[in-house]
């Protein structure tokens, strides 16, 4: 792989909650390559959204972000506000789970796309009008010319998601950050939107970070994946390798929790207990109270995220035992 497009190192985000400081994202590192789709997967509260938002400084004031995010030779975390604003919605665009939070309800869709075009392109008025229409066409909204003058509330859920993608694409971003873009949608519409994002990635040469809690979505769309638990990346690698032989016990448990064809009505290999709250993250490996492989070292020493096979990283003291168990299963 050539030099990554985005290189995140030691990203950490803290909030003040109830008089104490909690760490929502803890020492997260990953790269996004050219034209790649990286899946960020984990259960609710594991820190996926905070990771994406801290890259673009979209966290509420009071949040403290540390670490580095190298983008074209510059660090997004340290960049002055004015400069970051040009990157945000420009070379890096973001889309969200709930399109109504990103769309302005009192402006027609046309105006919202044209605003993004004005901010991030050199197009003149006529050029912006024409491009707005092309963009709605591109994201598959039928009868684009007429629908441009409608308001977001006149669109169905799937069309709003398409409109938000059109706005995000207006600036011809190099990188699209997508936070659960299909979680609120029905499965046939989710399928359409995911295929659309892949199509656009190829046609426009973008890279994508796709946040999801659905392992099926990762299997279907991503080239590489990173699994988050309690604010940390616990496993990272090619999608095929991670699915075929997970090397962190949490990933193994997550894959076992999802029903598969051929095992109907048998007990699922569930994980005991529930994910920890931010105020009480266990010492050592945060997964240890729920882990069937845990030993003393797991309760005392935090495992580093390190390579287990080329390109496949895991933060687990017993990653070989986990790999063996996954082959046996």
């Amino acid at each position: 792989m050539s030099a990554p497009l985005l290189s995140v190192r030691g990203l950490t985000a803290r909030f003040r909650a109830g008089g104490r400081e909690v760490t929502a994202v803890d020492d997260v590192s990953f790269d996004v390559g050219e034209g790649e789709v990286l899946g960020l997967v984990g259960e609710s509260g594991s820190g996926k959204s905070v990771t994406l938002r801290s890259l673009l400084r979209l966290l509420p004031s009071g949040a403290r972000v540390e670490g580095q995010a190298l983008w074209q030779g510059r660090d997004l975390v340290a960049m002055p506000d004015a400069r970051l604003r040009r990157v945000r919605g420009g070379a890096i665009s973001m889309i969200f789970q709930e399109p109504m939070t990103a769309l302005n309800p009192v402006l027609p869709v046309r105006v919202q796309i044209e605003e993004s075009l004005r901010a991030h392109t050199a197009l003149d008025r006529a050029g912006r009008r024409a491009r707005a229409r092309e963009l709605l066409d591109l994201v598959g909204i039928p009868d684009a010319a007429r629908r441009l003058d409608e308001y977001p509330h006149q669109f169905s859920g799937g069309m709003r998601q398409r409109a938000m993608i059109a706005i995000a694409l207006a600036s011809e971003p190099r990188l699209l950050l997508a936070d659960e873009p299909t979680t609120a949608l029905d499965v046939t519409i989710q399928d359409q939107i995911l295929k659309l994002i892949l199509d656009l990635k190829d046609r426009l040469g973008m890279s994508v970070v796709l946040v999801t809690h659905d392992l099926g979505v990762v299997a279907e769309t991503c080239s590489r994946m990173a699994v988050m638990y309690a604010g940390r990346i616990v496993e990272q690698g090619g999608v095929r390798e991670v699915f075929a032989s997970p090397r962190h016990a949490y990933t193994l448990g997550l894959l076992g929790s999802v029903p598969r064809a051929g095992t109907e009505r048998s007990a699922l290999r569930s994980i005991e207990g529930t994910p920890p709250g931010l105020a009480a993250i266990p010492p050592g490996c945060a997964f240890n109270p729920r882990c069937a492989f845990a030993t003393t070292v797991c309760r005392e020493v935090r495992p580093d995220l390190s390579p287990r096979t080329p390109g496949h990283l895991a933060a687990c003291h017993h990653s070989d035992r986990v790999a063996q168990a996954s082959l046996a299963a």
């Binding site: 399928d191 359409q192 099926g216 997550l254 007990a267 994980i271 994910p275």
Partner: protein, 333 residues
């Protein structure tokens, strides 16, 4: 396992829409959401019947009609052969006890001011399930049954995680020793790792207590895992019913085929870049005439918008509502 215990026969349910002033001034007729139109389905003793479909297709409405939380507008729901709308007094109470519903929202369906003990004691005493003196023992048994620690009894619902609250809901439903459990999106609000725990519990309880379960969910993988038979709904209608393996291996309705292809598979090796279905769900206020799927179906022909297809046999215990005998899956575009 073939005896029908609970049935829907041609069940329809409309929700009238509030009429705006301009509608009234313009003399436009009152409109309604057609949540169910002519649903026929049987639930057999001892089975798990899965009901799947996309948002708004009428799954929850059907579930509520089955337990008589809604009165139907057309057709009837029967239990043990009797139209449930005719039940009154002691018979109605007996029906309410034997057919229990567990809700989607573990947060909203438990009274936050009551302890778990009070919640369970109330259910036990309303239906006079055990003598008062036996209530504490029975509560301990129920908590053990759903694998909650016994000290859970004196805590309030907010002191539990989502998965544990769902177990409290299950314990409450089981406290009255029902025959049928109707579970509406039982685990949808839970994280995957916790979903698996609740699914395992449900499977085990069903075997032990010989329960009949109606499992309503939009998650195809879960429904496949749990159900003996599956019914697929689209826009207020049942479009296909079959034993689980048949439905997933040999779906005969073009909508079922699209739905199964649209669901992301867990195998990174089998990817497709073409969307499984085109277009979006039509509004249940004005469903398309004829076959409800005709606006999105790759096989639609002149008969489809003109004539409603009825459920007809496609093999042993397998019915589908399509004018074509054996359409083959085609992706969008």
């Amino acid at each position: 396992m073939t005896e029908a215990i609970l049935t829907a026969e041609g069940v329809s349910k409309d929700f009238p829409l509030p009429r705006s002033l301009s509608d009234r001034l313009a003399g436009r007729p009152a409109r309604a959401v057609h949540a169910l139109s002519g649903v026929t389905l049987e639930v057999r003793r001892g089975e798990t019947l899965g009901i799947v479909g996309e948002s708004g297709c009428g799954k929850s409405t059907l579930a509520r009609c089955l337990v008589r939380l809604h009165e139907v507008d057309g057709g009837r729901v029967t239990y043990g052969g009797t139209d449930v709308a005719t039940l009154t007094g002691a018979e109605r109470r007996a029906f309410n006890r034997r057919v229990q519903m567990i809700f989607q929202d573990p947060y909203g369906s438990l009274n936050p001011r009551m302890t778990v003990r009070q919640i369970l004691a109330e259910a036990l005493s309303v239906h006079r399930m055990v003598p008062t003196a036996r209530i504490p023992d029975r509560i301990a048994e129920l908590l053990a049954l759903v694998r909650l620690p016994s000290d859970a009894a004196d805590r309030h619902p907010h002191a539990f995680s989502g998965g544990q609250r769902q177990r409290i809901g299950i314990a409450r439903a089981l406290s009255v020793e029902p025959e049928v459990l109707v579970a509406d999106e039982l685990v949808s609000a839970l994280d995957v790792s916790v979903q698996a725990q609740v699914v395992n519990l449900l499977l085990e309880l069903q075997e032990r207590l010989r329960l009949t379960v109606v499992f309503v969910a939009h998650d195809l993988r879960l429904v496949r895992h749990i159900s003996h038979r599956v019914a697929v709904m689209y826009l207020g209608k049942v479009v296909e019913v079959a034993p689980t393996a048949t439905l997933f291996d040999d779906p005969r309705h073009p909508y079922t085929q699209a739905l199964l292809h649209a669901a992301p598979s867990l195998d990174p090796g089998s990817r497709s870049r073409r969307a499984a279905a085109r277009g979006e769900l039509p509004s249940p206020i004005a469903p398309p005439p004829g076959c409800p799927f005709n606006t999105r179906c790759p096989h639609a022909f002149d008969r489809c918008p003109a004539e409603v297809p009825f459920l007809t046999s496609r093999g042993p215990d397998h019915v589908a509502a399509c004018h074509l005998a054996a359409p083959r899956f085609e992706s969008a575009r």
